[in-house]
Symmetry: C2
């Protein structure tokens, strides 16, 4: 490559007002092939003309595609070129080598760049300096490497001094370049340079870098070069071509650096995308008092308000805005101080927003009063802002309602429904677990449910229950806690499911901590948290924080309600909630649930005043004794159902019969067994034998679900009686009720048949006794793989199916949700699984069983109602699957109902598109 | 109905030599409809002519059909009639009422019977007495009720006295009739009658009933009638018609008595079959010294030898032979004492055996020297006899080889391979569990594996290991025990599987006992068995016996080997064995296994000299430390494989990589943890935390299978290295080896892909290092439902599939095999499930996944080898399914190999037939 001798001045386009129409999407095939007929590797932009376009993000990365588009739009952009993501893939395939032809295309591109910029790369008189940046198809801010001021050496720095008449600026640019290049390309640790810088500050007796004079910086350049020579055994490369090649390689390599890999894993971004490399002429916000740099949003990213929002620093480089050493000025100040720059920036922002039909996040620099845009992209925003902006766009006719519905990430809505940690806080994170239930909570650590109740109710202290893992025995303690932290268990562990149902924050499966319940403490590395110490949980990120972090409260806006109303008009899927108490049911209705899809009766068994009767029932030695104990529970259960039916008046309520293994209701440690034995009038040894005999090796696959009600039909009888008595009582009081009795864990049609017979007999007897009757359905969970395989036979008996995708996932994979934390992190890290199947439905495996179940079920009974009540009912991609599978409704925890409503609407819209 | 006045003498046919040809099977439709065009309810037989035939068992029951056939064959049979099983069903449907027309048909039948018998029913001069007996389509010996001597009253008894000139005989018949009828029809308890009988003995100062004179019996008749009047408030019915109707009803009702219901459940007999009722003229073996009664077999039912075998009693009734008060005489004695009777009986036996082409079990009576056959049926026999008889029939050209193969129940072969309890012993059964591994064992109870080893090895005592449940830690203890008894766990629990593999007797899931390991005792009701007390187990029946029962040893006959050779020529399925040690492998080859289908490597990890290294590996905190520990295990594993490969030379050996969760290798109680901590140089608390952290809520669904080798690839590496080093070493020594590496618990193709890559890398490295190579396969278990659902994707990578039907059954049903004992007995009792799915493959559910897996797998890879290595591989009906599903082989425990060979042959023959 030759050095270009031309000395043109800037890359500003001459026709900034021209606004080209958006190019046709199918034009991209043509332009991705070079004139030689081979795939094109280098795309140029500058002087109002670019090879690429915005819809070429896959090939040019987001940054490159948008720089091209902006150039075409007439927005002032420093000229440059983009090396495609395709090159990145070839680079890796060839073992970190450039594909044939790249060098030549790059040389041509650089020649054109020099022409447009009217500067010469390596030209000592009028040097072209460039930035070399990554730009992936999906935004990965700060994850990969960037090098600025490339092209400087001992000769070109002199040109820069001459042209800017600012030696301090020039040497500062030079020493920054060496430092950045040394670190990124030559892989020298930062501190090697920082030590020299600190020494220099000391010798010059100044506090901050900006106070260092030009001379000090010039010396620093020499010292830095010495550092490099010493460490690498050779001189810092002063050939700009060599610098450029090294920087390009470093950016490609950074695609696989650890933080980028982690970021992609966390954000579910494919490894195979690759990154593009953008080489762009430098412009300087730090060239003097008429230079500045900043970032701005076309709307307020926190609230969505239609205000021009941002901040800038005079005489500074972009990194200074981020570093936070100097406090940036609000954008309103720009209007006062640099009115032409502000005016042009504002106009460009509006133009880009209109053009992309999205709120924009802009990076800009004014060099000596001349504005340049360095980047534009869709701005990240809070959920609240996302909703407001979408609504405003609809109001202004920029996008349609359908586009607005598609534009909101349903998962983000969670933010609107839960408190969060103040983003301005700098909390001390001591551990990280699974983000099992969103929101944030502050409280005193307690290690026992009973202690949680004492502290919360008697001392009115906010508490956080910390357990190895929770069990149904802990319900009371969970109910009074602000949040729950467990060391074990996955996204659908007991703690996670119950917490989500309660709308309570939960961090589960936090293997970073060791919980010692007996010593009332937990350890996270060196930190020991004792009972009553304050901690804060972030259930949205999974972070565990020492002390009390400041919280911000959620807010439900009118825009939000409007959006959901539109969603309701669009969707086909019904949305119900999983709710076990009248309070849950109330929350569910408030969030728009159209019924209860899962009311778990076991949670009702744990209330303090009922547990003795439950235990009496369990240890009963005869059917008669069991019936006597159950008779004590009947009034409680009946009242539960009366209260829930009332709240849900006119809507269906699906009640699941008792599901968990009985040992969950009995104490495990000798002390508690001793106490209970006294209460029940049994010998300690006798009760211990009973407890022992109820233990199971794999309780998830044990004596639970319909197996309980089949071996002890009197349990089903009592529950059915409570349901029908409650329903009849309300019908007499003119309250409309729609009970749906659901039999859990059915795998064989005969299980269903026998349980159904019992329920029907109780219903008929109750109706006769009370002199009224109620319409009801009897259906089953489909949660055992076998049930899906023989769904036709089951549907001959059942009025409805409700897929229990938690258990179905457990058994289809053979994964215990309580133990998955042992290997799931590794599985996700190594991409053995694409996602946690307890969060995102496994459509290929579990989904195949669901599709089969729906198909076979409906074949056998046309009128079969089919829903799903696992945790996946509130996960957007899974909701999309359920829509396509033809389900009638999804049911999820009350706080997920808005998410499901939106996701169900999106499913319809996506189907239309396809 | 009128009383018949005729006084004919006997039902002997006039043409006893005529031998009709076997009737065509399709003739049954015609004859099952009466002349009136309605279904016929009553079938008559007598005087050489019968309405029914042998192939009408469904309608007439086994007894009725054979009585009809015998009559037609000219065999001397007392005349009678059979009321069909159809009537039994109608009787229940109508709420214990007779269908219209039955009374009339019965009257006609009784009229004909009186004509043939030449006696009158209720005729005081020449009374016809009848027996009323049940007769189901399937033999249910002794399960239902029988009434003899019906037709007696105060008048007819006088006729009997006159005709026999034997008042003692007549009154004895009369009092027996009242007692039997009172008990069966009137439902009075036996003791009410027995008390009177005892008093009468006392007054007459005699010891036994036969010593009572006629007068005493006459008095007893009056006393019995008094008993009835007092208890029922009305007189004993003296109208023979009323007696007959009552008896018929009682027999129908006995179809649903408790013991019959239990018997059908145990023997898998349908409830809907119903029983027929046979009304037959009485003949008396107790009419005097020329009368006799007995039972005989046409061959020896124990050995199968071609000898006429049986016993008889002179002047006795059939029940006396069974009661065992008098000692019967061997049939040889009959030849000496009653040559004409013997000759005729022998001829009839031969005739029937030839006719039915089966060894016959005959009941006979000679009344005053005249022979009558009361029943003939296929004789029950031991496995040894069954094989010998079938072989002899083939030799004699009576049946074909194919018929012989189909005639042997494969399950019965188990008897030939294990010791049993001497059938003559009367053991004290104290509890009953699941018959988990066949055979019998005697030993001293021990409650800890370590104690088992001490007693067995140091004191050379036979021991039986009694545990709540066993875990892999108990292996050493199990190995030295004669048998294993557990209180929990099903047919495929750890104890059951390991015991079967070892060919050791096991009773599992014995919920009748309470095991207190800490107190070294178990309780069964009131019986307390302490350490070192002798017990005996019967693993074939599930019985637990107090003390030392006498055992008999098995014997392998030439006939048996011949039968299996024929089976091998017939079958298509390959038969392999599950074997973990060279000894197992040797047994497997001896029993005809064609390879090892499952070699579980974990059992190798428990050996005493290896466990420390295994534990070191588990507690290792770094990959390096883990590798160091694994390196210590490598030589052991390599030697294991060398030894097994040698035994299996030339045959494939499928080695499964480590499968069980790691916590199984660590101690659980504080004492043992303390000891281990010292050994490993760790703190007690530290090790306890590690043990704690490895615990799982549902270990069956936890960190096991390929999940282990994926999270710790160094484990897979070590195992692969051991396999390939062993194989290379043998190849160099000219030993042919066929290793097949099997990856367990794969659910996602990516799991397989990654594990396979590791194994291939190790293989290549090993081959290169050792300068040789070995052909090998890498395949996977299909044991997680998801694997079957995505079998096409997995087959793209895998060389073979092996269905792990134990785990597949667990996950498809959601049944933990260790916990199923809590509800399975109830499920089987209530017929919710037709069979234990861990014993008999659930073809409908689990089978659907297998069919899908085979289909998808072969679609993706034509050459895919498909087998099964769950416990079902040795269960005949499951083997039939695997044959039909197109599998290449089954693999089962060595002792089941002969069963699988025969079952596989039968599958081919049944397919041909269909």
């Amino acid at each position: 490559m030759k050095k270009a001798g031309a000395t043109l001045r800037a890359g500003r386009p001459t026709t900034a007002t021209a606004r080209p129409t958006r190019p046709a999407a199918n034009a991209s095939d043509r332009s991705s092939v070079s004139a030689r007929g081979k795939p094109r590797y280098v795309y140029r932009f500058g002087a109002g003309k670019a090879d690429g376009r915005a819809d070429m993000k896959q090939l040019l990365g987001g940054k490159g595609a948008n720089l091209a588009e902006m150039t075409n739009l007439g927005v002032p952009v420093p000229p440059g070129l983009t090396i495609t993501t395709e090159v990145c893939r070839l680079f890796y395939e060839a073992g970190h080598k450039w594909p044939a032809g790249l060098a030549q295309e790059l040389e041509q591109g650089m020649r054109r760049l020099q022409e447009v910029a009217q500067k010469g790369f390596g030209d000592p008189a009028n040097p072209l300096l460039v930035s070399v940046r990554s730009g992936a198809p999906v935004s990965m801010p700060g994850m990969m490497d960037t090098i600025l001021n490339l092209g400087l050496n001992d000769r070109t720095v002199q040109g820069l001094i001459t042209r800017t008449n600012n030696p301090r600026f020039a040497y500062d640019a030079y020493r920054r370049f060496i430092q950045m290049y040394g670190n990124v390309v030559l892989e020298l640790p930062h501190h090697r340079f920082e030590e020299r810088l600190a020494k220099q500050r000391a010798s010059y007796k100044v506090q901050t870098d900006p106070e260092l004079p030009a001379e000090a910086l010039r010396e620093l350049v020499e010292q830095y070069k010495h550092v490099v020579r010493e460490a690498k055994g050779r001189a810092f490369p002063d050939d700009p071509q060599e610098q450029l090649a090294g920087a390009i390689n470093a950016v490609f390599s950074s695609w696989h650096n650890e933080r980028a890999v982690v970021y992609r894993r966390l954000n579910n971004i494919s490894e195979s995308l690759g990154t593009a490399v953008n080489v762009q002429a430098m412009v300087f916000g730090n060239m003097g008092p008429r230079s500045l740099t900043g970032v701005c949003f076309t709307r307020d990213p926190s609230t969505g308000e239609r205000v021009f929002y941002g901040e800038y620093l005079v005489n500074a480089q972009g990194e200074d805005v981020v570093a936070g050493i100097r406090t940036p000025l609000p954008i309103a100040k720009l209007k006062e101080e640099f009115p032409p720059v502000y005016k042009e920036l504002y106009a460009v922002g509006q133009q880009l927003e209109r053009y992309f039909r999205e709120m924009q996040d802009l990076e800009f620099t004014a060099e000596e009063g001349t504005l340049f845009l360095l980047q534009t992209r869709t701005g990240k925003r809070t959920a609240r802002a996302a909703v407001t902006i979408a609504m405003d766009f609809v109001k202004d006719g920029v996008i349609t309602r359908e586009q607005a519905l598609l534009r909101i990430d349903p998962l983000q809505l969670d933010q609107l429904l839960h408190p969060g940690i103040d983003p301005k806080a700098k909390p001390k994170v001591i551990a990280k677990g699974l983000p099992a239930s969103p929101g944030a909570a502050v409280g005193r650590a307690v290690f026992e449910a009973r202690r949680a109740v004492e502290l919360a109710e008697e001392a009115s202290e906010p508490v956080i229950l910390v357990r190895q893992e929770t069990s149904p025995e802990d319900i009371a303690g969970m109910a009074v806690s602000q949040g729950i932290l467990t060391a074990r268990g996955g996204m659908t562990s007991h703690a996670a499911v119950v917490a989500r149902g309660m709308g309570k924050c939960c961090v589960a499966g936090c293997s970073d901590i060791t919980v010692r319940e007996d010593e009332r403490e937990f350890r996270a590395g060196d930190v020991v948290v004792k009972e009553q110490d304050y901690i804060t949980l972030n259930g949205t990120t999974g972070e565990v924080i020492l002390g009390q972090a400041p919280l911000v409260q959620p807010e439900l806006t009118a825009s939000f309600r409007q959006l959901l109303a539109w969603a309701d008009q669009t969707r086909r899927l019904g949305v119900r909630a999983n709710a076990d108490t009248p309070q849950d049911a109330k929350t569910a209705r408030d969030f728009g649930a159209e019924g209860i899809g899962l009311c778990r009766t076991e949670h009702m068994f744990f209330a303090e005043e009922r547990l003795p009767a439950v235990r009496e029932m369990i240890v009963a030695k005869t059917t008669q004794a069991r019936k006597t104990a159950l008779a004590k529970l009947l009034p409680f259960q009946r009242q539960d159902f009366i209260d829930i039916f009332k709240v849900m008046e006119g809507l269906p309520v699906t009640i699941r019969l008792l599901d968990p293994p009985l040992h969950e209701f009995l104490p495990q440690d000798d002390e508690a067994i001793k106490r209970l034995a006294e209460q029940l009038g049994l010998g300690f040894r006798e009760l211990k034998d009973i407890v022992h005999s109820l233990e199971e090796v794999n309780p998830m696959l044990g004596h639970r679900g319909c197996r309980l009600g089949l071996t002890y039909p009197e349990i089903n009888e009592m529950q059915a009686q409570a349901i029908f008595e409650a329903a009849c009582q309300l019908v007499k009081a003119k309250v409309r009720v729609q009970p749906e009795v659901m039999i859990p864990l059915v795998g064989h049609p005969q299980e269903f048949r026998i349980a159904k017979r019992t329920i029907e007999q109780v219903a008929q007897a109750t109706f006769k006794r009370l002199g009224t009757s109620v319409k009801y359905l009897i259906g089953t969970m489909i949660e055992v793989p076998r049930a899906a395989l023989v769904a036709d036979a089951i549907a001959q008996e059942a009025d409805f199916f409700s897929f229990g995708t938690n258990d179905l996932t457990q058994m289809t994979f053979g994964f215990s949700r309580d133990d998955i934390v042992k290997f799931l992190p590794h599985y996700l890290k190594e991409r053995i699984l694409p996602a946690d199947p307890f969060v995102t439905l496994d459509q290929e495996g579990v989904g195949a069983l669901i599709t089969m179940g729906v198909h076979k079920g409906r074949n056998a009974r046309k009128s079969l109602k089919v829903g799903i009540c696992g945790e996946h009912g509130g996960e957007p991609s899974s909701v999309g699957f359920f829509h396509r599978a033809g389900l009638d409704y999804v049911s999820c925890s009350p706080y997920r109902v808005p998410i499901a409503r939106l996701a169900a609407a999106q499913a319809v819209l996506r189907e239309k598109k396809a």
